[in-house]
């Protein structure tokens, strides 16, 4: 059997894997839409300062609480109207994408990095190290995540950086557990013993040999965490524990807008809509990724 297969170089294998991944991913219409929206959001975030029609922090005196342009009393200079102190809603929403993307990236990076290292250590060394680490993870997971994040933010002091750290701490046990489980099952495989026999060191074994083989579930978990992070950061902002005003973070905007819920609907509606759309896009993408990366689902 083995002599019939053509020897492929690493690059070729990688290319083939990517092609296969894209084949399954692109079959999922939702995932492609999600990807498009997500790319748009990322571009918007990167070029936010260039494309905003107004300075998002500039207060136009006398222009407070203008309705969107299609409503009576709207001003064509402010497409989506203005907020309580006369700042352009559209510009603030665009600027807000920067915050949300930033939050997602930072939270996922910290949680992923921390979780993977912890999980690798626990899974690889086993014994009391494993028991201790996993008990600590159990403790973290025993608290409702938003509540724990709230308390952590209250300790660290309200603010965007601290909110991100708090959310990352709350998320990292998921990555740790996932990695640990993957490591434990991979350790029994032949290729690991083979690598061991050929004299690979622990660190090399962990990162070069085992880690690449449990990437799939980690990527899926990372996407999920990205969307949850955007959502939780907004919730913290809404409860007054996230980004500080005048930051144009969507949740914070929503919190500031709460008093206008019955009088000026657009100040309340748009930031929430922005959160929903970005979270939805990422989740759509996540679904596509899961289907494309999970071999079991591929068959069905």
């Amino acid at each position: 059997m083995s002599d019939t297969t053509v020897k492929l170089t690493d690059a070729q294998i990688r290319r083939r894997m990517l092609a296969e991944f894209w084949f399954y991913f692109s079959r999922n219409r939702g995932a492609v839409i999600g990807l498009c929206v997500f790319v748009t959001l990322v571009l918007m975030a990167i070029f936010a300062d260039l494309i905003v029609p107004h300075d998002p922090t500039l207060q136009y005196r006398g222009m407070e609480k203008l309705p969107p342009v299609w409503e009576a009393g709207g001003n064509p200079d402010f497409w989506l109207g203005t907020d309580a102190v006369g700042r352009d809603m559209l510009s603030r929403l665009i600027k807000g994408s920067q915050y949300s993307m930033f939050i997602g990236v930072v939270v996922v990076s910290i949680a992923l990095l921390g979780g993977v290292v912890i999980g690798l250590v626990a899974g690889f060394f086993g014994g009391w190290v494993d028991v201790l680490i996993m008990r600590v993870m159990d403790v973290i997971l025993a608290f409702p995540s938003l509540l724990l994040a709230l308390v952590l933010v209250a300790i660290l002091g309200p603010g965007l950086t601290n909110a991100m750290i708090a959310i990352a701490i709350v998320y990292q046990p998921h990555f740790a557990r996932l990695t640990r489980a993957a490591v434990m099952s991979e350790l029994k495989r032949d290729y690991v013993s083979a690598a061991r026999v050929s004299g690979a060191g622990n660190i090399r074994l962990m990162f070069r040999t085992i880690l690449p083989n449990c990437l799939g579930p980690l990527i899926v978990q990372a996407t999920l965490s990205f969307s949850s992070a955007v959502l939780d950061a907004a919730a913290l902002g809404f409860l007054g524990m996230g980004a500080r005003p005048p930051a144009a973070e969507w949740g914070t905007m929503l919190a500031e807008a709460r008093e206008f819920i019955l009088s000026h609907w657009w100040i309340v509606t748009f930031p929430g809509l922005a959160i929903l759309i970005s979270v939805l896009a990422i989740n759509l993408m996540g679904d596509g990724l899961r289907d494309a990366l999970d071999p079991k689902l591929k068959r069905s």
Partner: protein, 334 residues
């Protein structure tokens, strides 16, 4: 079976101590001095400050404070709130039924709506129903519920005037608390319309709280069903000419329910977190809102015991799920 339960319980002991350590330490790391918060703009003289700190027991060695805390825990004493000066446990217990009621109704909605949708979507895979319901589920799953709650209030309470804005029952009705569950108490009271009023007040908050669990359950049920429907024994049953309804009802659904039960159990934590937001929006007198207030007032004993009790509840529910899982699926027990 007994050994299985016992081993699970023993497994929880270190976690529990970890939790007490966390719940004890965290509130003490909070910035902001409760004595100063009580004094407000007025300020407090250094002597008086020292006096009050001592009175609150905050001047003792931190280790001594921890063992005090553990010791009193085992006597069922969770300390007194710094704000109301009342025992934290009694405050928690007065508010807890409101949260439980809201949570139970929400999870009930989520199951009763989510499971059938999931099953139907799986059976009619690829149909318009499948596509619409699963898209809706994904939207629900992505929903910032604090915003969703506000939107529903604007529309149903503001524009249409159909639902009350907040509270658990119309103030027209007044009866003593028997169980703390308004649905039960209103029935016991025998007052005409009281039960309906309670239901009326529960609708919006429970729908908001149910949104995410419903989406998760619907998605999970669908994929579990799909998996089971593809299994050999279902195919065999089908091939044997068993009516489709029986195949789905008897074989597929029962087996598909195993992962769904786990999912439902995992939603408890989600519900408690959601309760924080939902209760804040709807002025629902439950523990979620109480925790937020306690944190912002730096009410150490309330924060610490509230965290402990909530973590304890999550832990217990997880244990129950574990045990149920063991019951449904004997393979796990060994």
């Amino acid at each position: 079976m007994f050994r299985f339960i016992l081993s699970r319980l023993l497994y929880l002991v270190p976690t529990f101590f970890g939790i007490t350590l966390v719940t004890f330490t965290f509130p003490r790391l909070l910035k902001g001095d409760p004595v100063l918060l009580m004094a407000g703009e007025r300020g407090v003289s250094p002597e008086r400050h020292a006096e009050l700190t001592a009175q609150l027991g905050l001047d003792k060695n931190i280790v001594v404070q921890y063992f005090d805390f553990i010791g009193r825990l085992f006597q069922g004493d969770f300390g007194n709130s710094l704000v109301t000066k009342k025992p934290v446990l009694s405050e928690f217990l007065t508010l807890f039924p409101a949260t439980v009621e809201l949570g139970l109704v929400a999870i009930l909605i989520a199951i009763l709506v989510g499971v059938p949708i999931g099953v139907l979507a799986a059976i009619k895979r690829g149909s318009w129903f499948d596509q619409v319901s699963m898209s809706a589920a994904l939207v629900g799953f992505s929903m910032p519920i604090f915003w969703w709650g506000l939107l529903l209030i604007i529309f149903f309470s503001g524009t249409l005037g159909w639902t009350p804005v907040s509270g658990r029952i119309s103030l027209m009705y007044f009866f003593p608390d028997v169980t703390g569950f308004m649905l039960i108490d209103s029935l016991i009271s025998g007052q005409k319309g009281a039960f309906l009023s309670t239901v009326h007040h529960l609708i919006l908050p429970s729908v908001v709280l149910a949104t995410i669990p419903l989406a998760v359950i619907a998605r999970q049920t669908r994929s579990a069903m799909l998996e089971v429907l593809g299994e050999d024994y279902v195919r065999t049953a089908r091939a044997k000419g068993m009516p489709a309804r029986r195949v789905i009802g008897v074989h597929a659904l029962r087996n598909a329910m195993i992962p769904v039960v786990t999912t439902i159990g995992l939603q408890i934590g989600v519900l408690l977190a959601g309760a924080i937001l939902t209760e804040t929006i709807f002025s629902w007198p439950g523990i979620g809102k109480w925790m937020i207030e306690s944190i912002s007032r730096r009410d150490y004993p309330s924060v610490q015991s509230g965290l402990l009790l909530m973590a304890g509840i999550v832990m217990l529910v997880n244990l129950l799920v574990d045990l149920t899982y063991g019951l449904i699926n004997p393979r796990i027990r060994k």
